[in-house]
């Protein structure tokens, strides 16, 4: 095995072991059923013991200095247990926006806290849809006269919006999009949880009324473009992980559940579903890792590939999650069984940052179709 392949394998194993120990699917269930969106102790340990929060943060800000390839592997593993916590919002969305921005001061202010597990964050761009689309920003920002800014507007579908210590929000300054940092407890900020499908990923509606903010000095449109691609690729990795875990559940059950005197997995209808879903899983995983590798290299094909991965992985995960329930029969329809968590995560992440049709349109644009 090449050096890089070996290191990735090790990262995968370390992450998987940590999750098996502290954040398995049962832990996800425990957290969610207790009405929380995160187990803070585990979040802390994740930073202190295996440093996942800092994996793709440059060393100068306290991170491990790795990139999208490694972060993708971590997201895939977190996806397997439907990890309920602020990882995606903090590490993929907020931290990667700060890494992509060329504002060293902002990076120094926030990234070390994220790396240590002391600070959580999120990113809010499109006001109405949750997409990371700088064209869909309506919130506005005005200077407060003392070097700071004030934001007015609202953002829907903000991931971990109620709990994030730092909210990075896009807002218009004289028609141009800018990026702003807002404290979670800032004056003039209202945060309301949004009742929605996926209990393992909290969403919120944020309202800004002349809310004090600090501007991240950068080309916000370019930064958001980069983050959009990273989110697409890493969400696809997460989806591939969730899909793989759901397929494993289905296959394991099909081996032991007996009807008509034989394991249901010996029935062809079940076999064929599983075989087709294996194609879904393998292709999702390969597409997500291809996108991550291209993003790491800043390859010109990276954006297109990220959207291709997203367009495939979202529906693929949903197909697997649905078949998992089907293969489980009645028990798969119960609240007690974990299968519904996978379906809810799958459907929610399929549409959250842009639908498959949206990503296909983007592929068509970028491929010149």
């Amino acid at each position: 095995m090449s050096g890089q392949a070996e290191e990735l394998q090790e990262l995968r194993e370390v992450t998987r072991r940590f999750l098996a120990d502290k954040a398995s699917i049962s832990d996800t269930r425990r957290v969610v059923e207790s009405g929380r969106s995160c187990d803070e102790a585990v979040w802390k340990q994740m930073a202190e013991q295996i440093g996942l929060q800092g994996i793709a943060v440059p060393e100068q800000f306290g991170g491990a200095g790795m990139g999208p390839v490694e972060l993708g592997v971590v997201c895939e593993e977190l996806g397997r247990t439907l990890y309920a916590g602020p990882f995606f919002a903090t590490v993929v969305m907020a931290a990667q926006a700060l890494v992509a921005a060329d504002d060293v001061e902002a990076a120094e202010r926030w990234l070390p806290g994220i790396v240590e597990g002391a600070l959580t964050g999120t990113l809010a761009v499109a006001d109405l849809t949750g997409e990371i689309d700088p064209e869909k920003v309506l919130t506005t920002a005005e200077p407060d006269g003392e070097g700071g800014w004030r934001l007015t507007g609202s953002k829907r579908f903000v991931v971990d919006g109620c709990s994030a210590d730092l909210i990075l929000a896009a807002a218009l300054v004289e028609g141009e999009v800018g990026l702003f940092g807002i404290d979670g407890d800032a004056a003039g900020l209202t945060r309301e949880p949004l009742a929605q499908l996926d209990p393992t990923r909290a969403l919120a509606v944020l309202t800004f009324e002349a809310t004090p903010a600090q501007r991240v000095a950068t080309d916000a449109a370019a930064v958001l473009g980069r983050v959009r691609d990273l989110v697409s690729a890493h969400l696809a990795a997460e989806q591939a992980g969730g899909a793989a875990a759901a397929l494993e559940m289905a296959v394991e059950y099909a081996k032991v559940r007996e009807q008509f005197g034989r394991p249901i997995g010996s029935f062809q209808a079940i076999k064929h579903m599983c075989a087709d879903r294996l194609l879904d899983v393998e292709s999702a995983r390969n597409a997500a890792s291809a996108a991550a590798a291209l993003l790491a290299d800043h390859d010109p094909e990276a954006s297109l590939t990220a959207s291709a991965a997203a367009a495939w992985a979202g529906p693929a995960f949903t197909r697997v999650a649905k078949d998992n329930i089907q293969i489980h029969g009645g028990i798969g329809f119960t609240w007690e069984h974990d299968a519904h968590y996978f379906l809810k995560r799958a459907k929610s992440s399929e549409v959250l940052f842009g639908s498959p049709a949206h990503h296909r349109a983007r592929v068509a644009d970028l491929a010149g179709i």
Partner: protein
Amino acid sequence: MTTIQHPVHPSVDDPSHALHAESDEEFRLRLRAFLTSGGPGPRPRDPRERVAWTKAWHRNLYDAGYAGPSFPQEVGGMDLPFGRQVIYQEEIARAKVPGALGTGLGIVAPTIIRYGTEVQKQTWVRAMLRHDEVWCQGYSEPGAGSDLPSLRTTARREGSGEDEVYVVNGQKVWTSSGILADTLFCLVRTGSQESRQKGITYLIIDAKAPGVTIRPLKDLNGGTIFAEVFLDDVRVPVANRIGEENSGWALVRTSLGHERAAGSMNQAARYRRVLDELIQLAQERGLTSDPLIRDQLADFDIRVRLMRFNAERIIAGILERGEPGPTSSVSRLMLTTFEQELHEFAVDMLGPDGLVTKASDAAVQRARWLSGFLTSRAATIGAGTAEIQRNTIAEQVLRLPHDPAMPPR
């Protein structure tokens, strides 16, 4: 079938010498130079001439030492390491030279290399590589397709010593390129019918031998992709058996290293080209302004990319761990579905114009999409149906239990 002869030695430019000295890039350029300068020339339109032209090209390739990338050098192959096989396949695809005739090289040649006697290897594999003979597959029978172990073509031993033969009786069907066959590689029954796969023997049969009748079968597209083969008291020397009597079944799935995987990037590249041509056609006809058509084309575009990533994963798996991993088991499902859906979409997209056959001058692009729509039906039937393939993935990759109502494997 040719009689046993002295092995032919690749004459010029033996790649084995160069292998260690030259870099991958140098290898690529050397091969490319050969494929361009020594290329086969323009493709004849007449089908008969085209066969002769294809044979001449493969003879040329063999004589120059560029045939059989994964085959051992002792039988005239190149014995390339896997990474070079990938390069080889890329260059072959790039040069658009004609592919091999018959199905022997991909299927029976690895079996002979692994289980054949020295004489069999030297005679048969070289003859196939050099296209002195076209080899075709006689496995399927009218009553035995997916359930191949139920086959009924019998082989009965007669005579003794040097003159001992198998007398073969039965019928084979769906024999691809059957009308071109010089040699048939067949599965025949030497045990009882009930013995199923335990009573099957692997025999090589001269297609020109008395008692062999090959009749073309017209396929749904009007061509003659395959044929039917009647075997009436055909006398086959016992020396034409591969492996032991009644142990032919175990030889059926022999593959040689990962030759197929080495070509998987090409498959993806080929579909890339086909899709690009369809997109261009859609654009020329102003159809991409229709959002539904655009959405579909983007979906195909994404799937072609995924095929490439899957191929990359398979190849990386072999290079890094020596095994291609689960992606390789499912990638064919992806390709076959894609091929069928793409062509059907093209026909739909063209509307009634898509229905015009190549017999008319009004046909769009010589009706390639329409023929593709028809021909691609075979993608999920030939070489094992998609259903059987899913069974295999489920049982061998996912380890789901065997169906107890089915005979044991």
